[in-house]
């Protein structure tokens, strides 16, 4: 007691207030940059004044955030050996969300990456993977589970040092009033998965050059939820993986002549469906503004849309 000085309320207050800004606090590299415009070491061409979110997640970390249409979000593997779980919801109406099956089926390919679209279950584009992205995207294996992680590492709860990907994503959704029903099959970033002719799933070996990244451009207002947990096919006995940096900056959604619209007739129609719903979203979203104007964030994700 005497040593910490917390035997009185004022002493406890002084102790609490001494923590923020301390050398120990500054040594924590996995925390948000507040304000976000203070972010440094940004992608080429990004002005710090445009940054709306900058946060680094350690292995086991998670975050969830509503991003306006047009916002660019870069996810970066800082060490070259990590796995990020990703799920997207339409923020204005979260019963609409990422559909990995439609994403691969409608684009006729299981190995999607730069230039591809992340599609909702309503035939719309939630986000475009911008061409400069070089990270792998796995839409086949989903998030690790409570049972599988416990079998491999002994424990898997949110309280443990080895939480499952699913439980971290569920916490991210819970912060927006969403629950288990709202968690669809999710994507993995950074680790590459391939399918053999017999259908076997093969995970690429761990370890690559640091700095692999994917930049997503939100084509609707989206709730993005990210967790950093080992890939479900990662057999290493240790719960292994490095930190992931999330950096978002304001920008424009796909304009009328954006190359992402023209890559296929399916992409064209998915964007047509996206443009179409923007005409009637309430409150009016960015379709009523010209491309380039920031959209208003139309609703909170807590309005889940249907029965609850």
């Amino acid at each position: 007691m005497a040593e910490s000085g917390t035997d009185t309320v004022l002493g406890a207050r002084d102790h609490a207030r001494a923590q923020a800004g301390s050398a120990g606090a500054q040594a924590v590299t996995t925390q948000p940059t507040i304000p976000a415009t203070g972010a440094t070491d940004l992608p080429a061409g990004v002005d710090a004044a445009d940054v709306v979110w900058d946060e680094t997640l350690a292995l086991g970390g998670y975050a969830s955030r509503v991003l306006r249409r047009g916002t660019h979000l870069r996810l970066t593997d800082l060490t070259g050996d990590t796995n990020a779980n990703l799920v997207l919801h339409h923020a204005a109406r979260p019963a609409e969300r990422l559909n990995v099956a439609d994403t691969v089926k409608l684009q006729w390919n299981a190995y999607l990456g730069a230039g591809a679209l992340l599609l909702s279950d309503m035939g719309r584009v939630l986000a475009t993977i911008l061409p400069e992205s070089d990270a792998s995207l796995d839409l086949l294996c989903g998030a690790s589970t409570r049972l599988a992680v416990a079998a491999r590492h002994g424990d898997s709860g949110n309280h443990s040092p080895t939480p499952s990907g699913r439980d971290r994503l569920l916490l991210g959704l819970a912060k927006h009033g969403l629950g288990r029903r709202d968690l669809p099959p999710s994507a993995n970033l950074f680790r590459m998965v391939r399918v053999s002719p017999e259908g076997d799933l093969v995970l690429s070996p761990p370890g690559g050059p640091p700095g692999s990244h994917m930049t997503l451009r939100a084509e609707l207002d989206v709730l993005v939820t990210v967790a950093v947990t080992p890939h479900p096919l990662d057999d290493r006995p240790s719960y292994a993986g490095g930190p992931v940096r999330l950096t978002a900056w304001s920008g424009d959604p796909a304009g009328p002549d954006d190359p992402a619209r023209g890559v296929s007739p399916e992409a064209q129609r998915a964007f047509e469906n996206t443009d179409d719903v923007l005409l009637t979203l309430f409150p009016a979203s960015s379709a009523t503004s010209s491309p380039g104007q920031p959209s208003r964030c139309s609703a909170t994700a807590s309005d889940a849309g249907d029965e609850r």
Binding site: A95, N99, V100, A101, D102, V104, K105, L106, W108, N109, A110, Y111, L112, L119, D121, M122, G123, R124, L140, C141, G142, A143, T145, R146, L147, A148, R166, G179, R180, R181, D182, L183, P184, P185, S186, V195, P197, E198, G199, D200, L201, P232, L233, E266, R269, A270, E272, N273, A304, G305, D306, E307
Partner: protein, 201 residues
């Protein structure tokens, strides 16, 4: 001694749902051949816990379902086991057709065609479940290869008249079927047909 407790025909294009008790077997018969049967299964007592296609294929490290495959929920627990299969491979990465995805795949003119998601929503409605309970499903009798470059698509089926798949319930579950009404790709040989479902206890 096991007995048949349900034996019925699900008409072409129709939904179906039924609760299975632990140990029940469900046989799904492709009566006329090449009929895709879209399928989702829920924990009967906690429907928020439901089939997870990706957990299922990651656990078995193979994208195809066949005899021995265990259909798992999002926490990794077993819901159903495939105990017999006369076809050899079934899809679970291609998902269900919907009015909305049909517009992307085939054109806006297909918006009002009947689709599997509408069947699932119809079948789940009496149970108080809806759109938030839609997840990637199984496509029994549907053939979706993944080629070396990742190319993926629904191609001609491997099934034939009378072939079946049989599932055993590992706990009480709600099994939901959409007898696929799709007419724009070969999953139903462009002609949706009836199937038979048989539950044995």
């Amino acid at each position: 001694m096991s007995e048949v407790v349900l034996d019925e025909v699900v008409p072409a294009r129709a939904p179906w749902a039924h609760r299975l008790e632990t140990g029940d077997t469900l046989r799904i018969v492709d009566l006329e051949g090449n009929q895709a049967v879209d399928f989702i299964v829920y924990d009967a007592d906690d429907t928020d816990l439901r089939y997870d296609a990706l957990v299922t294929i990651a656990a078995q490290r193979n994208i195809f379902l066949t005899t021995g495959s265990v259909l798992r929920d999002g926490e990794g627990g077993p819901l159903l086991t495939v105990v017999d299969d006369e076809v050899g491979r079934h899809d679970t990465i291609g998902g269900a057709c919907s009015c909305e995805s049909n517009t992307v795949r085939y054109g806006h003119h297909t918006k009002h065609q009947h689709a599997c998601v509408d069947n699932f929503l119809t079948a789940l409605s009496p149970y108080g479940r809806g759109k938030r309970d839609m997840v990637s499903n199984v496509n029994w009798f549907m053939n979706v290869p993944v080629e070396a470059d990742g190319s993926l698509g629904i191609v001609d089926g491997l099934s034939a008249p009378g072939k079946y798949v049989e599932l055993r319930a590992e706990r009480p579950v709600l099994a939901v079927i959409s007898n696929c009404p799709q007419i724009n790709n070969p999953c139903n040989a462009f002609d949706p047909t009836p199937i038979q479902v048989v539950v044995t206890r």
